[in-house]
């Protein structure tokens, strides 16, 4: 690499002002714990920061490169604004939140704004606005997730206003160390309570008909169904064109997921780009007199892209694309030379202003990281290989784009989905031309549908066969060896490190200084060392975890590479992915059922500061603060076992090993553990 030396090189921060705003703003949102205290703290930091900004601004006057005081104050102000904004937007911060912990039942009027259909129920995401009291009604606010059972006489739809008596609950926290944290998932969507709808005790106050967009979407979906009659291909066609998610063939979905092509099924920047390209070409024929009306074309394009974004459900990915497209188009109209990175940051900033909790949305994260990767890492990959042949050049460019995007997103994909698609580069080669064919063919088909009559099967050929061939190609790639690498469980620290590493690569490429390279290398080595030591420490420690899962108590002991999981009673399914993560071996999963032969290797008991498990003696690591606090809850559970019959068996059988009594305590006994930790975790030496 040709290093720069002997010259001063400064990053062009002036060209990316929104990046300088977005970084502290996003950090502020992430740091906020979204309480009234956070709001006040944010405001307490914001006000002096603003005053400092004003003071620095006046002092700087017209200096070309003033002292960085303004920048420091600005950093603080934007961080505080993000911090306070997240707190302000949290449901529970402002007064008149609907939840009243004193009442067992609350009669509320809610508006369902989104319905998510599952196999046995619907999830109705709703906003409360009125509480019916005994003598007086009051205006309330807050998000509530309503679970509506199937089958029932009520099918919810978006826009419904219902009145019912609800028993409000908080979402369940995981009772298992590796269980999906539904509470956190909803919390990040600003939903803190849920309830079940009792269909015997509710009323539909208002049921609007389908809106214009919904009717149009349903009609277009009907056309797609006719144009693509195959049950296997139709869900893909509908998802790509309209963003509507139908139940797909599971094998086909697995193929898309494993090959890294699942982003094609979600309407996002790729679709917006293709749409814009197609319409730009079509609008190129518009003339007013002899001139091309550039402004009119630009406005029409922006209008069409936004209409498409709203028609397809306005997911964060497509909103990002629509915003970026709008900003880029307007900047070109105004003859401003805008950095694409700045436009990307501006789009992120706008979306976070509208809904700060989008930062936790996986679609938001992947969409923006992929674009950032494309902007920052495409050049380094593209310039790795130089060829003369034009066709090979195109192939190199497409693969470079795939690599750039993948390098930015693979840590997040690993964190959320625990897998890596090895053939992403191959999928990238085929997805773009097929997407053009499908989207172009689909637009053509839908536009001509009302006029085509009997010609419909013919005009829809490119569309129909485009979907079919893409499905077949993706399915073929899925059959290749090493198609999907699974069982990768990076922690949050690992993920951040890998993202920073990718960013560092771009940084070094643009800086081209040996010093910057050395800095990145040193940081990388230090960080990696810390991670390795932490991983080593985690692997050598022994943990005992006790909890209940679906009302069945269980015990887990992890000792070095071995993990023993004891499940009390029957039929508790452990997902395979969890076996991989915690290196559980099937032979070490032992089910215990009273009445059958005991499969335990020995009883579990507590003696002093030691846990005795069969022939193994484990000393509790009381120097670990968390263990110490958990131990204080753990002890009474073993010592003060109630004499009552454990409810997991119908009668207490004499001679039961201590394990069963201990497990029964967790279920039946007085539980001193707080709600926040439904399971106990003790470190053992």
């Amino acid at each position: 690499m040709p290093w720069r030396s002997g010259t001063e090189y400064e990053l062009p921060w002036a060209r990316v002002p929104f990046v300088r705003i977005l970084i502290p703003f996003a950090l502020g949102i992430l740091c906020s714990n979204r309480t009234t205290g956070s709001l006040l703290l944010g405001l307490a930091v914001l006000v002096p920061s603003l005053l400092a900004m004003i003071g620095a601004h006046r002092r700087a006057k017209r200096q070309v490169m003033p002292a960085p005081w303004f920048g420091l104050a600005s950093l603080g102000a934007w961080w505080a604004l993000g911090f306070a904004w997240a707190a302000l937007r949290d449901d529970r911060t402002l007064p008149n939140h609907f939840f009243d912990p004193e009442k067992q039942y609350q009669e509320l009027v809610v508006e369902i704004h989104q319905v998510d259909e599952k196999e046995r129920y619907w999830n109705g995401y709703s906003r409360t606005f009125l509480e019916i009291g005994d003598s007086i009604n009051r205006n309330v606010h807050g998000n509530l997730l309503i679970r509506i059972p199937k089958p029932g006489s009520y099918n919810p739809s978006s826009g419904d206003v219902i009145q019912a008596r609800f028993r409000i609950q908080e979402p369940f926290k995981p009772s298992f160390p590796f269980e999906f944290d539904w509470n956190l998932f909803l919390h990040r969507r600003n939903i803190h309570h849920f309830t079940y709808l009792d269909t015997a005790d509710f009323r539909v106050v208002h049921h609007p008909g389908p809106g214009l967009l919904e009717s149009l979407r349903a009609r277009l979906d009907g056309y797609i169904r006719e144009a693509v009659p195959s049950d296997r291909d139709y869900p893909v066609a509908s998802a790509m064109l309209l963003g509507s998610y139908k139940k797909m063939d599971q094998d086909l979905f697995n193929a898309y997921s494993a090959t890294g092509a699942v982003h094609i099924l979600a309407v996002s920047g790729l679709h917006v780009g293709i749409m814009a390209h197609i319409f730009q070409y079509l609008f190129g024929f518009i003339r007013i007199g002899k001139k091309k009306p550039v402004q009119l074309q630009a406005l029409l394009l922006i209008g069409i892209i936004w209409a498409y974004a709203l028609l397809t459900g306005a997911a964060p990915a497509i909103l990002r694309a629509a915003l970026m497209f709008s900003f880029l188009t307007v900047s070109r109209l105004l003859l401003r030379d805008s950095s694409p990175v700045n436009i990307l940051a501006a789009a992120a900033f706008v979306l976070l202003c509208i809904n700060p909790f989008d930062i936790y949305n996986i679609g938001f994260q992947l969409s923006f990281l992929a674009m950032a990767g494309l902007f920052l890492l495409y050049e380094p990959f593209r310039t790795l290989i130089t060829v003369e042949n034009r066709i090979v050049q195109v192939l190199v460019k497409v693969i470079a784009a795939s690599c750039a995007a993948q390098l930015a997103i693979y840590p997040v994909v690993g964190f959320h989905f625990h897998q890596f698609a090895f053939y992403f580069w191959l999928t990238g080669l085929i997805s773009t031309p097929f997407s053009y064919l499908i989207l172009g063919g689909g637009l053509f088909t839908l536009a001509l549908w009302p006029l085509a009559g009997h010609l419909v099967p013919w005009i829809s050929i490119p569309f129909r066969y485009g979907v079919l061939w893409m499905n077949e190609t993706v399915s073929w790639i899925y059959t290749l060896p090493l198609g999907k690498i699974q069982g990768w469980w990076p922690s949050l620290a690992d993920t951040l490190f890998l993202i920073l590493l990718s960013g560092g690569m771009a940084y070094v490429h643009f800086q081209k200084t040996r010093f910057s390279f050395n800095c990145m290398l040193l940081c990388g080595i230090l960080f990696l060392s810390v991670l390795i030591l932490e991983e080593k420490r985690n692997q050598t420690k022994t943990e005992l975890v006790a909890g209940t899962h679906k009302n069945r108590p269980w015990l887990w002991i992890k000792h070095r590479e071995n993990a023993f999981l004891y499940l009390i009673q029957d039929s508790m399914k452990i997902p395979r992915s969890y076996l991989e993560k915690y290196k559980l071996r099937e032979e070490n999963i032992i089910y215990f059922h009273p009445g059958k032969q005991s499969l335990l290797s020995g009883p579990l008991r507590l003696e002093g500061n030691q846990i005795i498990f069969g022939e193994k003696h484990f000393e509790i690591a009381l120097e670990d603060q968390k263990t110490k606090s958990e131990y204080s809850k753990f002890q009474p559970l073993l010592k003060n076992r109630p004499a009552a019959t454990p409810s997991i068996t119908t009668q207490k059988k004499p001679g039961l090993p201590d394990l069963i009594s201990f497990a029964a305590d967790l279920k039946d006994g007085p539980s001193p553990r707080p709600v926040e930790s439904p399971y106990l975790r003790i470190r053992i030496k």
């Binding site: 603003l50 700087a60 600005s74 205006n139 009145q163 008596r165 800086q511 200084t513 059922h593």
Partner: protein, 376 residues
Amino acid sequence: MKFKPFPAFFRYTLHQRKSQFALLFMVFILGLVYLYIHFFPPQSGYVILPLEKGEDVNPGPSSLESPVESKTSVPTALRIDPNRVTLDLLLEAGVPKRVAGTWMKYLAKGGKIKSSQELGKIYGMDQSLLDKLTPHLVFENAGKAKGTALNLNLSLNLNLSLNPNTASVRDLTAAGLPLKVAYTLDNYRKKGGRFLKPADLSRVYGLQDSLLQRILPFLVFEQEEPDANPHSENPIADEIPPSPETVDLNRSDTSAWERLPGIGPVLARRIINFREALGGFHERGQLKEVYGLPDSTYHAIEPYLIPSPITRLIRVHLDLPLKKAHPYLSVKESRILANYIRQHGPFKDPAAVIRIQAFDSTFWKKLLPYLDFSTP
């Protein structure tokens, strides 16, 4: 070599500083707008009445037979157009002030009253007051009522009586229910729903309270049978019609099974498949043989199970040898039985089969309830 990435991050030109302030101001305005919408939300315009508690839904036919005398009386000559009435007119008509005020607010928000029954929407309007006002009501477009309005045939057919658990869609619509509501009610019944008391009808989507009040006097509910002992020795004699809380071993479908604790769609399907293969369960304990049904789940659902007769028997003298295996009798075993019958003649009584030494007592214990020994 000088390298200063970080100081550049904090350095802003004049133009950039001004832009920062402008952006901060815009975000501040956004925050104010959000707070304004929160503290001064737009009014919904819906007329919302408190939910009636289950036991209060049905005032009962007796209340119609002996209406409470209203304290007010309406002047005989008064004509009231409910959509154009004034507050003074309402007060003159004897409507209480509070109710009159609510009525005015309802009209002010764009509410329309198309029939006298819809007046019941007004909060505070009780039956007696409505009865007093009804003869004086004048509707501008009385002849243009939409199809979803209550069919006024109800008022002419005073001898009508309906059992909501058995009435056909035709009967329900003849009684005045809109067709859509009648179908919804019918679908609810098909999925196992039952109406044991008037409050249960509020579960039917589209059946508004006002409509329910109108048809309530004509509804007949079945008397609840005394609870039969589900552990009865003679389950056939003590047959209990399956309710959502109990499940008939041999007649209930998957949706009924799924209502039991611990039974999901997969287990329900397995139970049904096993039952069909067997020809019916002759005792509850056979459920333990269903693949994947945990012992704990069986004990949990056992109290809800109602035994009933087996639906299909193996005719020993006609069906053997079997072409398709029965869960308790394989094709090979059926050939052994068929050969025995061919050699020794038809069985005269069930005890005779036990003599066949090819099979043990456990085999016969399971299979005997499924055998039909009647000679052709």
